[in-house]
């Protein structure tokens, strides 16, 4: 178990270094921030002075070492656009994004898991048919489009919810629903197919034949095995949502990280882009690590497999 944990941790650290390198060099092929940030009327000397102040005229490897040594201790420098420390900007936006992603995930799970389980145990039933239709729709309807339709219908027409922002307790309903739908679709399908597959396994037949109560079989044998693929998908999806949903947050004017990403890219705000990318990577890697450890906890094959 310990060895497993350490090896996963090592892999994550390596990945993170890879991300830092990639992010640093990728943002630099997108354009000259001095040109974009300075007014159009600025003269060549103004531009040069700006590059000097910002350190953009130093050799690339010097800039990289500077960035890397800072990033390791969480110092990403000041945002070029917002003039405040980049990491602080990211952390300011984090609660809103966690709020949205959390509600979206809970919404998706509450609906998806029962539908998936019922569908898996009763393939072909009405619930299964509707559930699969819903899953397909959730996964295939473009959610930026759905977001606009929801605003028009539920906010403008029915006035049930605010059309944007995070002012009231129910402001989160529309964005969370839109954000959660594709995840819901995926989890319905996954749960259903996992139940179907596991039901046909020898050990379930064994359990039946030794006279176990169906309820015991479901809870002890089926659910436990269904949980493994579910956890991996939930982990990945939650990490993805925490990275900030750019479309959804922008459309609903939700004050989270997704909007900040959109802004930082638009302004070629190198320090901010880097801070967001590295921060998001840490979150995703952390979640993956937790996911892996949860597997090991639930499934002894993984726990003992490596030894």
């Amino acid at each position: 178990m310990q060895r497993y944990f350490i090896s996963r941790l090592g892999q994550s650290a390596l990945l993170l270094i890879g991300v830092i390198i990639l992010v640093f060099f990728m943002v630099r092929v997108t354009g000259d921030p001095a040109r974009l940030m300075m007014p159009r009327e600025a003269s060549a000397e103004d531009l040069e002075a700006f590059r000097e102040v910002m350190g953009f005229n130093r050799p690339l490897y010097v800039q990289f070492l500077d960035f890397f040594s800072g990033a390791i201790v969480g110092d990403f420098g000041d945002s070029l656009h917002f003039k405040t420390p980049a990491l602080q900007l990211v952390l300011e936006r984090l609660p809103a994004t966690v709020h949205l992603a959390g509600i979206a995930l809970i919404f998706a799970l509450i609906i998806a898991i029962p539908i998936g389980l019922i569908g898996g145990f009763n393939p072909g039933s009405v619930v299964d048919t509707l559930g699969r239709g819903l899953a397909l729709a959730g996964q295939s309807i473009p959610n930026f489009w759905l977001a606009l339709i929801f605003i028009l219908f539920f906010a403008v027409r029915l006035r049930w919810f605010p059309s944007f922002g995070r002012d009231e307790w129910h402001s989160v309903v529309l964005p969370a629903t839109v954000l959660g739908l594709p995840v819901m679709g995926q989890i319905v399908r996954l749960t259903r197919s996992a139940v179907l597959e596991i039901r046909g396994e020898d050990f379930i037949r064994t359990a039946y034949s030794k006279g176990l109560e169906p309820r015991t079989i479901y809870i002890k044998h089926v659910f436990r095995n269904v949980a493994i693929p579910l956890i991996s998908v939930i982990g990945v999806q939650f990490g993805y949502m925490l990275g900030g949903s750019i479309y959804i947050e922008t459309i609903f004017s939700w004050p989270g990280m997704g909007q900040l990403i959109e802004q930082s890219i638009g302004w070629r705000d190198f320090p901010l882009i880097q801070a967001i990318a590295v921060f998001t990577s840490v979150v995703v890697l952390g979640l993956n690590l937790i996911t892996d450890l949860t597997y090991a906890f639930i499934d002894p094959r993984i726990r003992y497999g490596s030894s």
Binding site: F82, A96, G124, T206, S209, T250, P255, Q259
Partner: protein, 583 residues
Amino acid sequence: MVDYARGGEELIYFKPFFFLNAKTAQEVSIIEGEENMNILKQLRPVFGLVLLAALILAACQPQEIIVTQVVTQEVEKQVVVTQEVEVVTTVEVPAEPPPDMPIGTLVRAVTTFPNSLDIPQTAERQASTTAWNIFDSLVAFNDAGEIVPRLAERWEVSDDGTEYTFYLREGVTFHNGEPFNADAVVFSWDRAVNGGFEYSYHWESAVSVEKLDDYTVKITTEAPDALFLSIMADNWGMIPPGYFQEVGQAGFDEFPIGTGPFKFVEWVKGDHITMEANEDYFRGMPKIKTFIIRPIPESATRVAAIQTGEVDIVTRLSSEEAQSLLGVENVKVIKYPVTRVYYIAFNNLTTGVGQPTEDPLVRQAMNYAVDIDAIIDALFDGFAKPAIGLVATSELGYDDAEPFGYDPDKARDLLAQAGYTDGFAMDMACPAGAYTHFEEVCEAIAGYLNEVGIDVSLEIMESGQYWDMEAAKELPPLFGDSWSSAVGEGYPRLNGSLRGWDASYSSWFDDEIDNLLTQIETTIDQKERAELYKDLQAYMRENPPFIYLYEPVSFEAINTRVQNYKPRSAETYDLFQTWVVEE
């Protein structure tokens, strides 16, 4: 899997085969049966989807009714638009009298997040217009675009035009109670010039700012600077020296303090900025109690939020969105021209050297070849104005000459005169996603040029890369762009796009244009300058350095409870004079 099943239950492993009960057998057969599902069963999820689609359609039904309403109102709409234009251009007689005390809340939606409320650091228009509610300059623009006294009561200019003496208003205090005086002016200038901000150069037009006595300052410019007062009105926000020194730049960014009509209250990043009325304001009490700025980047959401009444003012709507709001209860649409001009630039410095476009006849021909009116009708519902000469309509010295107009025969004649009877081929580039419908505009232009025999191959490029190449003068000999100006004159735009190697985004140099621009720079007298602008425009019609396109129109929508709100062509507004009617 088998391994695992054996793990804990090996002892009873063999039993099931003898006791295979009926229930399990049934279930197994169902599972196996699934593999051979008949077609009907396979279609089940499809039925589910159809059902769901039907539900969604049903849910959308009321929406479709709205769409048909919009269509039926089309005729009425046009009438409303012309009314609104009049509302903006004539003096509006408010329906409700202004209150004696600041009352109510006004929410203004902006399209992007202000990056800072410290004026020399504000990166774009919407940040600076937000900040200007907190600050004042020595002088200001009025609604007619004229310079009027603000924190200065009056001023004198020396005969050589380089020394300004400002007599400051007495008894003005900052929001924290600090007095406004000559020291504050000196400190504000000093801080901005030495702050290393992107916009420091707007303060650098003054080489010294001296205190003569507590309420008199002398400001010296290097040379006569015709735009000095305009730039001052648009950039020189006064800050309190004592407070700034106490809290530092970071503290000031966090909680800005000025003399303006509204006091800063709070800024929830990415969500809203709140200000409240400054009841001690030296021009009198503002009429709005609480003013809130909310960024809503997505325009469809802005349109929704004005309809629900969640916000009172929404800006930067497209003509389609403005049309969709006409006739909506409690919403009024405002339309005003923006001081921005779109153009397709020629190049005589790098890629355009030796090309046919060095011949003025060819450049004239290309202006005649493009049907701007048709483009404006098709892409902007007619809401834009054909441009001529790169000076916008509301700017000083605008020459109301006829645009070239669409005349493809004349274009072909001119091309023949220039010796290009068979036309020629040329590359063209335009930025993607930078301006409304600009990609389509460029495609249309390429099409029109092709019709008169100029074989244009158009490349639409990512805007970041585009600006880089434009600055490096590496774009093809035809490239599209636009330029705004907020100082009431076309000078910054003309200077930036026509000063050859001296200007970052220029790819054109012409001695006569350069000569006229130099004269405009140093002539202080407004009338003389207006004449110079006219001369320049006349010259630029004969020798066009651009294919002139259009001046855009900006749409805003306001809640009808908002009174006396007058947005200006530079997208600024003076909220001091605005009030809201409380229901």
